[in-house]
Amino acid sequence: MNSHVDQAAARSGATRRDLVVGTALISGALLVGCSPADLMSAGAKTEVGAFGPFIRIAADGAVTVVSKHIEFGQGSHAGLAAIVAEELDADWSRVSVEQSPANSKLYANTLMGVQGTGGSTAIANSWMQLRKAGAAARAMFTGAAAAAWKVPEAEITVKDGVVSHVASGKSAGFGDLIQGAAAIKPPAEPRLKSPEAFTLIGTDRVRRKDSLAKSTGQARYTQDVNLEGMLTAVVAHAPRFGAKVRGFDATEARKVAGVVDVIQIPTGVAVVAKSTWAAIQGRNVLKVTWDESKAEGRGSAELEAQYTDWAAGKGTLPDKLKWESFESRGDAAAAGDGEVFEATFDFPFLAHASMEPMNCVAQVGGKGGTKLTVASQSQTIDQINTARIVGALPGSIQIETLFAGGSFGRRANFQSDFVAECVQIAKKVGKGTPVKLVWTREDDMEAGYFRPLTHHRVRVRLDKDGYPAAWTHRVVTQSLMKGSPLAPKGFDATTVEGAMGSPYLKATPAVDGQVLMPENGVPVLWWRSVGATHTAYVMEHTLDHLAKKAGRDPVAYRLALFEKAGAARHIAVLKLAAEKAGWDKPAPAGVTRGVAVHECFGSVVAQIAEVRLVDGNPKVGRVVTAIDCGTAISPDQIAAQMEGGTCFGLSAALHDEMIIKAGAVDRKNFDAYPVLRHSEAPKVETYILPSTNPPSGAGEPGVPVIAPAVANAVLAATGKGAFRLPMIRA
């Protein structure tokens, strides 16, 4: 048994069993009879009140909903609170939201098995869990009232936090009944409302709870954390991916007023100072030499050329690299009479570029154990990676999760890169001293974890009626999952999702879809809407080229293929968008319209974009959006996600492009990496398809449709396709 694990366990009050499973986890051993949740929560101590881990009710009746999910803009805090408030019949104006501690047993994402936020699942995975939590708490209040008033529980009603018995005229607030309610055993299977009885869910009353704090500067982000005695660190990182520190000279850096220490860590050399500016000044004069013997030497241009060759069947593949089939039937290569469309599509690396660069606060070696104060997107993974560094039980790592200034996928990676870096520094500083790691914008851009550079090659042969008879599709892109604990055996579905399973492929008799997943030294990661960031573009822009060859209207052509594929939800959203956009009426003078439809994260979105060409570049005006995301908890926040997702997707369509040259990032700040700005933002109208299905994603599905919709509008205006993003290259 590892002695420092023993000590950490003693400090955290963990049990012997915790110790065994925690050590097993850290050392990578498998332990029979332990669930992953047991392993990962070993050492955790979280207080749970009478109403369970998600609900606290104060003596004055105010309700606090505990969110297991981070709030990074997507509006989940409001949606999660509304689910509880609905079943609890709470007074929405007296419901507030609090971020949960890290605890993979209590707060796991039910679709992931670990605590984490991603894949647009925050609402979907919590839906039944929080309905039951709210309904159980409600039952505890009706039970308490029935006992106190000696009336049948079935006659008791609850509305806006007031429990009433009409016949006797008795009523009381949650606060009045709290002692009795807390003493009642919560029902395991409480009765849930039928959707017709919802009074809060689906209404415009479900609004954000954090707008005031975020409009006054009072909302707290990691960058704002200022603890007693805190030091700030910036790190000199390798200029090329894969390079390591050879040596460094800190003489000048140590002379900078405010610099406290200069420390080598696995990812570089950290300058630790009493202020951020002092740390930055210290790093400016720090001399580091790098061992680049194992560094990546290629860049975007070389990778793109290589991918293009491979997709065209040219050149030889490295050992162990092989094409994997993701969809196959019939003979797609067979000859036929119909017209053929053939094209290649290129997509660059993309930075997430959240407004708040990555940062973290860590305390290691103090009496209270290891504590992180950080916008953690995947608390369990951050706990495990931290535990490995400090030698403690994963569950004993405390995480105070703060608001994040955006993420778009960046904060969730299997290495916990910036968190681990901060923990390494805090471990060397020791004594529980709080250390804030600050990445500048340049650090954030240079660190990578990009949406991978991706190449598609498509060949579609039409039948005599103008519909696809044979579809050959090649995708070359890095795997996002390779080397991770979740790596699949065959191909990585995140590389082809959106092409794989597309209703257009379903409607095509012969399909040959294959993916090639080469490796290189550039770190890649999911980027808001993941595979759909490129697959939706290829499928939807290809569709308009096919419709054009077939001489069909793009909406009618899609509807016909959706009919063949039995894609009822696609048909419904497309019809709704077309109706609201006035597709059958002429566009305003100088404007062309483009359409796109895509399903991802369980939701289907159709968009029709109105585009005008200004100096040859697309300027997007009105964008009509229709979404089927199942039950809509907060229509206002779903609209906000469609508006924001459209801007995020449009930014990538028009501007975003990370260029790698010789293994190093060539664009390090917003002067060289242009993103969408205010004057370019479209006017998005959102229409939500009525549904009583369980809720599905909203944070990501608004992203991937705008780029092909704009490309299709440009195609309608000019007859020219756009086979490379971004459309406007800096």
């Binding site: 708040e356 200034g405 500048t440 609209a639 906000a640 997702g645 006017k683």
Partner: protein, 162 residues
């Protein structure tokens, strides 16, 4: 060497070296964390504050250049500024990190031009990046605030949803 600034109506002596950007002085010496660090080169606008009423990027201005100036940060708007009310009413923020800078740019705009056209709003706000893409609501909230103070003309921007 101390620099004297008037921050949100209060005279403050700051000890930071003269080359220290105003942003770090505000955030780490004065304790006003409303202005945010986003890019460090005046490209994103998250650090926007007012200097004698004009919007400036505090990440790129050495504190010595501001000696004697009146600095207003988001904290100095008081919380009930018409723009802040409009921001809350329309639920403008998503992640919220850029919003304090957005509001300060908008406050400078309305102070000098109470009746901005859509094009004038575009021009005044193009220096503030929002990666969440809340631009549409930012625009609508500026129109809303201008109207609320009885100073707007013309038609408000169409609502986001029917």
């Amino acid at each position: 060497m101390a620099t004297s600034l008037e921050i949100n109506g209060r005279t403050v002596q700051v000890e930071a070296t003269p080359d220290t950007p105003l942003l770090w002085v505000l955030r780490e010496e004065v304790g006003l964390t409303g202005p945010k660090f986003g890019c460090g080169i005046g490209q994103c606008g998250a650090c926007t504050v007012l200097a004698n009423g004009a919007p400036v990027r505090s990440c790129s201005l050495p504190v010595s250049a501001l000696s004697g100036m009146k600095i207003t940060t988001i904290e100095g708007l008081g919380g009930t500024h018409p723009l802040q009310q409009a921001w809350v009413k329309l639920d403008v923020p998503q992640c919220g990190y850029c919003q304090t800078g957005q509001i300060m740019s908008a406050a400078a705009l309305l102070a000098s031009n109470p009746r901005p056209s859509d094009a004038e709003i575009d021009a005044a706000m193009d220096g503030n990046i929002c990666r969440c893409g809340a631009y549409q609501r930012i625009h609508a909230a500026i129109r809303e605030a201008a109207q609320a103070t009885g100073q707007a003309t013309g038609q408000p921007t169409a609502k986001s949803r029917a």
